[in-house]
């Protein structure tokens, strides 16, 4: 008998084809896209453990210390340094000198060894990023790093995905602020951002650099 399949097999065959197309075509692709874009993959917003539970919320938020007090190279260098232990000791040679939490700092200072901080904003090595030019063109610390004055443990505010970079590179007028408010947290523009941004773009001569070699060099 040439009849090999039962009468239910027709629906089964058709359903399985539709299912395969949906599963592979739609779900597979979108799932991959969702995973790659998820905070799980990018580690966006995830507070990272550090050798010392340093709190920006305390130092910036309640003490009002300016960002540049510690990250002193941000205006002049492509790299904004994580401060050397000596910078901590500027104050902690006098206050909290017995705190066990700060023991690694004292040890580091005494033995001249580096504290190994965990890098939170870790750009891929094939990306060239220059802090000083961003600061100079009116990109506030807050624009990328968020309300750091509220972060007890530091987390990454943006996804650091390329499209996040490109968004600002294509539309800087949406983000720039006057230079004197660079380190201001909770900054609100004094006039509508569209007006201010457009003016600053002109005034600071901000170019919309989108070529590959702007960042990948």
């Amino acid at each position: 008998m040439p009849q090999i399949f039962s009468s239910s097999s027709n629906s089964f065959a058709r359903a399985s084809i539709v299912l395969a197309v949906v599963a592979i075509g739609a779900l597979g692709v979108s799932a991959w896209e969702l995973i790659a874009d998820s905070t799980w993959a990018t580690r966006q917003g995830e507070a990272r453990e550090q050798p010392i539970p340093f709190s920006h919320a305390h130092h910036v938020g309640s003490m009002g210390i300016d960002c540049r007090y510690c990250h002193a190279s941000v205006e002049n260098s492509d790299f904004s340094i994580i401060p050397p232990t000596k910078t901590c000791m500027n104050c902690h040679s006098q206050i909290w000198i017995n705190s066990p939490t700060l023991e690694p700092v004292r040890t580091s200072y005494a033995t001249n060894t580096s504290i190994r901080w965990t890098k939170v904003y870790d750009l891929p090595d094939f990306v060239y990023f220059n802090h000083s030019i961003h600061v100079k063109k009116g990109v506030g610390c807050e624009t990328c790093h968020g309300r750091i004055d509220n972060q007890a443990l530091t987390w990454m505010q943006p996804s650091l995905e390329m499209r996040w970079c490109l968004d600002c590179h294509r539309h800087p007028e949406k983000y720039v602020r006057p230079r004197e408010f660079i380190t201001t947290m909770g900054y609100t523009p004094s006039e509508p951002q569209e007006v201010l941004g457009a003016r600053l773009v002109k005034e600071y001569n901000i170019q919309k650099l989108e070529t590959c070699w702007t960042c990948h060099r």
Binding site: P2, R14, I17
Partner: protein
């Protein structure tokens, strides 16, 4: 010639006649159509263009679907290239214009072919109601030869003119090798 008529409790799918040569099948199909039957089908191990005329088959929907697919592919390919190069990711490459029409033609062409080709194949399969691994005609023992060397004609019970006795008698006048009833 012999006739096997099996009594089924359930209504049957149709009555099937088996022929030895393609000429007989074409002639049978022509006469079946002339006799007023509409819901019937001929089965052959290779395409017989004469059957298209004999059964009055003029289905151009595959061509139409392919044309639509091709046009969509053409517009889609060119649109994709233009959108990517001029809107989503405008980049100066060696001073070429963002919309470099000559350079978009290869991809427009490939997309046209891809979509048209896939549409042709998929629409053919879908319009043929495939996949249908189960089909009543396979219930006939000798239908295994339909893909090998024999020619079959099946008048379906859904035809308004169908009558189990009359149709069987009609098929016998076509002088087939064998007549069988097809279980549903």
């Amino acid at each position: 010639m012999s006739t096997h008529v099996v009594e089924y409790l359930h209504p049957i799918y149709g009555i099937m006649a088996e022929f030895e040569t393609p000429g007989e099948l074409v002639e049978a199909a022509r006469r079946t159509r002339e006799a007023g039957y509409r819901k019937f089908d001929a089965y052959s191990p290779y395409p017989l263009h004469e059957l298209d005329e004999a059964m009055d088959l003029h289905d151009n929907r595959v061509s139409l679907a392919t044309l639509v697919g091709g046009l969509l592919g053409c517009a889609g390919g060119f649109g994709l290239a233009t959108w990517c190069a001029a809107v989503a990711f405008p980049l100066n490459i060696a001073g070429r214009p963002l919309i470099s029409v000559p350079m978009f033609i290869p991809i427009t062409f490939e997309c046209t072919i891809l979509l048209a080709g896939l549409t042709a194949a998929i629409s053919m399969i879908m319009m043929n109601g495939l996949p249908s691994p189960y089909h009543p005609v396979f219930n006939v023992e000798r239908f295994a030869n339909a893909s090998r060397n024999k020619f079959f004609l099946c008048i379906e019970s859904e035809d308004t003119k169908f009558d189990r006795e009359d149709t069987a008698r009609f098929l016998e006048t076509l002088q087939p090798e064998e007549i069988s009833e097809v279980a549903r």
